[in-house]
C-alpha cells in the first residue's frame, strides 16, 4: 500500500506532508524532512495527462505567497 503522507524527493530524503493548501488555482504542498523538522520546502501539485506531479515554484513572489498563506493558516495554532 502506498503511503502518501510522505514522499521521497530528488535528494533521496523522506519528507512528511505537513499541509496542502489550495490558493489561486494552485495546490501547494508543504514538506518537512522526516529526520530534521528544520529542513522544509514547498512544492506545487500539477496534473499532466491524467498524472500527478510535484514541481517547484516559479518565482520568489510565489514562494512568498505560499509562505504567507501557510503562516496565516496556522497563526492561531
Amino acid at each position: 500500500m502506498i503511503d502518501n503522507s510522505c514522499i521521497r524527493l530528488e535528494d533521496h530524503k523522506e519528507y512528511n506532508v505537513v499541509d496542502k493548501i489550495l490558493s489561486d488555482g494552485n495546490t501547494y504542498i508543504y514538506l518537512s524532512n522526516k529526520e530534521d523538522e528544520n529542513d522544509i520546502c514547498i512544492r506545487k501539485q500539477i496534473q499532466e495527462d491524467n498524472r500527478t506531479f510535484l514541481v517547484g515554484l516559479d518565482s520568489n513572489e510565489e514562494i512568498q505567497h505560499a509562505l504567507e498563506i501557510f503562516v496565516k493558516k496556522h497563526s492561531n495554532d
Partner: protein, 181 residues
C-alpha cells in the same frame, strides 16, 4: 546630504537583514530556496495527505521556520533595495568621472538625484526590460547560461534584470548632466 542620510538608513536595513538571516541559519534558508524553486518534476501516485503522526505531533516547529523565512524575505526585499541604490550611486559616480567635463561634473555633484528619484528611475527601466521578454521570472537574462544566485535566497546579489536596469537608469542620468554648466 539627504542622499547620504537615506543611504545610511538603507545600510542599517542591510545589516539587520544579514543578522536575522544568520540567526535563522544561512544554509537552512538557502536550502529551502534550492528545494522549493524550479526543482525536478516528481510523479505522485495517489492523493497526498497529512499523516496521523504529523497531526498528533503538531507542526509548530515547521510554522516557526516558515515564519522566520518569511521575515527574511521581507527584510531581504528592503535590503535588496538598499543594495541596489548603493550600486546606483557607485556606478553613477564612476560614469560621471569618466564621461563628464569638469563643469558638467561640478553640476552633477550639486544635483545628484535623491534615493526616491533614483529608485523611481530604476523601477521604470526594470519595467521596460520586463516587457522585452528577455528575462525569466527569476530575473535572469534568458540568453545568459549562469543562473543568478538571487534565486537561492540571497537578496544582496542583484539579478540580471536589476543590474541591467540600474545601468540604464544611470546612463540616462549621465545624459541629463551633459551640456549642463
Amino acid at each position: 546630504m539627504k542622499e547620504e542620510l537615506d543611504l545610511t538608513f538603507l545600510k542599517m536595513v542591510q545589516e539587520h537583514y544579514q543578522k536575522v538571516k544568520s540567526e535563522l541559519n544561512d544554509q537552512l534558508v538557502d536550502e529551502f530556496y534550492e528545494k522549493s524553486l524550479s526543482s525536478k518534476k516528481i510523479e505522485v501516485h495517489g492523493e497526498l495527505y497529512v499523516g496521523k503522526n504529523v497531526i498528533m505531533k503538531g507542526i509548530g516547529q515547521v510554522v516557526g521556520i516558515a515564519s522566520g523565512i518569511l521575515l527574511i524575505i521581507m527584510l531581504g526585499k528592503a535590503a535588496n533595495t538598499a543594495d541596489l541604490m548603493d550600486r546606483y550611486y557607485n556606478i553613477l559616480s564612476q560614469q560621471a568621472q569618466q564621461e563628464l567635463t569638469q563643469k558638467e561634473f561640478a553640476y552633477y555633484q550639486d544635483n545628484k538625484p535623491n534615493v526616491i528619484e533614483a529608485y523611481h528611475d530604476y523601477q521604470e527601466k526594470e519595467e521596460e526590460l520586463k516587457q522585452t521578454g528577455n528575462y525569466n521570472s527569476l530575473g535572469d537574462n534568458i540568453d545568459n547560461d549562469s543562473q543568478a544566485t538571487y534565486s537561492k535566497g540571497d537578496f544582496l546579489v542583484p539579478t540580471n534584470i536589476q543590474e541591467d536596469a540600474l545601468r540604464m537608469a544611470v546612463s540616462e542620468q549621465i545624459q541629463e548632466y551633459k551640456g549642463k554648466r
